[in-house]
Amino acid sequence: MTEGIENNGKQVSDGIIVIKNLTRQFGKKVVLDSISLAIEKGKTTVVIGPSGCGKTVLIKHFIGLLRPTSGEVYFKDQRIDNLSDRELNRIRTHFGFLFQGGALFDSLTVAENIMFPIKQHHKITNWHEVQDVVKTKLTMVGLDGYQNYYPANLSGGQRKRVALARAIAMNPEVILYDEPTTGLDPIRADVINELILKLQRELGETTVVVTHDMKSAYKIADRIVMLHNGKIIADGDPDHIRNHPHPIVQQFINGQISPDDLAVLRMSSDISQTQFFPRDFE
């Protein structure tokens, strides 16, 4: 049974996902360092932080794609980090996961991709019903008519939208988005943001988004959590984060280079006397 855990002095007791003292190491590198966090039901939580700070690693623990080095993970008061793969598969059906690159199966068509989770967990007797579900999900992401396309024939934004349709195919209680707007132009990125908001409104599910796109974070978040060096350094609503006193938070949200990094850059350009130009080889 999970008890309410404290996040930056705030007591959260109704977390649908709760992690306690989660530490994850890859070799000797500590990526997550004794993190405790509760994801509130029905809300959109955005996890921000610089590249490589462990955001994706964190959400992969939510569905057991990674196991903690130490610590505990709970879903609806059930501890899941120590479950077998078979038991975890049952838990995973409550989740939808949008991978950074979409992770669509390239040997299957768009429709087959969306049908995949349905086919795996239901004995289908009425294929028309399944096709209707595929059509509905594709309509929700604005891609109805693309059923027979292969992922290779879609643009990056379209692939993410199809992946989103697949993630919501089973009407999950929780949707996890891994960098949903990365690699998209600003307009496509905003389309994805609007989709996330629309799905949240229409389905009312719990949403966790991992991103370093602050525009997107401010637009969709009920709550923003910032990771740095494996620890949570800021946690609160968008206004709280905007006015956060921590210098690293301010640097990150304003997209500024740190004075230390700047000094290193300047020093390296002074040191580097040797340079190669094409004319040297003529």
Binding site: R92, Q100, F105, Q120, M170
Partner: protein, 269 residues
């Protein structure tokens, strides 16, 4: 130096343990899949890719094995006045050793490489994680159909290789080397037994299992990037090749012991 050897040994033992666990899990899942009708379309699809599309290349391999054997062995046998026994030598070599082994090596290149590359690419593009995230066991969905297809169809492909090997050897013997066809077939029939053909086909069962298990394992555990996938394919082929040779040796020893128990006296010519 000692530290490097120790680290390498620990790493290798770890790899062997992980491979053993993977194979055990894959075999159990494959057995369970046999009982589940839902997996049959996946197995059928893999049988088409792995088996049906390999038939031409396997037949060509078998034919050249038989033809080359005929050309190479003729001089030795003719020197002893035993050229009419060429059929015995060619056919027993083809059905018992060269047919199964070379067909399996060809399959390791054609199928093993493709399986590793496909699963490796799925791994680095997070498609395997996607399967897992949707509550499906990737071993059941991706590995079991491939292993079952390889297990079932490698023996069948070896029969094709045997057939074309026998025919290739016979045609070269009759038309190029001028051997009397009746004597050729008579000596073949007297020396090649059902046991020899069966042991070759049984070998295919083991070779198929080894190729599929190694290739799927390497694909599932390949490193990121194009280089990682390429390296996994190379490692899968090398490991499959060595396994085929090692299994062939082990099965030859076992089959000989079994044969000697039931039929103690036998002459090749």
């Amino acid at each position: 130096m000692i530290a490097i050897v120790r680290t390498k040994t620990i790493e290798d033992l770890g790899n062997i343990g992980r491979f053993g666990r993977f194979v055990w899990q894959a075999m159990l899942t494959s057995l369970r899949s046999c009982a589940s009708g839902r997996t049959y379309p996946l197995i059928w699809n893999q049988m088409n890719i792995i088996g049906v599309r390999s038939v031409p290349v396997i037949m060509i391999t078998g034919a050249f094995v038989g033809m080359t054997l005929a050309v190479q062995a003729y001089d030795q046998l003719a020197g002893m006045g035993l050229e009419e026994h060429l059929g015995s030598l060619i056919n027993i070599s083809v059905v018992k050793e060269l047919g199964p082994v070379l067909a399996a090596v060809m399959l390791a290149g054609r199928i093993g490489g493709a399986l590793t590359a496909e699963l490796g690419t799925m791994n680095v593009t997070e498609q395997i994680d996607a399967v897992r995230s949707m509550g499906t066991d990737p071993v059941r969905y991706l590995v079991a159909p491939r292993i079952l297809a390889c297990l079932l169809l490698t023996p069948a492909l070896i029969i094709f290789a045997d057939f074309t090997g026998v025919m290739g050897g016979a045609l070269v013997s009759f038309f190029q080397l001028g051997i009397n066809s009746r004597a050729y077939w008579d000596f073949s029939a007297s020396s090649v037994e059902l046991w020899d053909v069966s042991i070759g086909v049984v070998k295919g069962f083991f070779f198929g299992g080894a190729i599929a298990s190694i290739s799927c394992y390497k694909g599932f555990n390949c490193r990121e990037g194009a280089q990682g996938v390429g390296q996994a394919c190379t490692e899968a082929f090398v490991a499959s090749f060595i396994s085929i040779l090692a299994l062939d040796f082990a099965l030859a020893v076992i089959s000989k012991a079994v044969y000697a128990t039931f039929w103690p006296i036998r002459s090749l010519v």
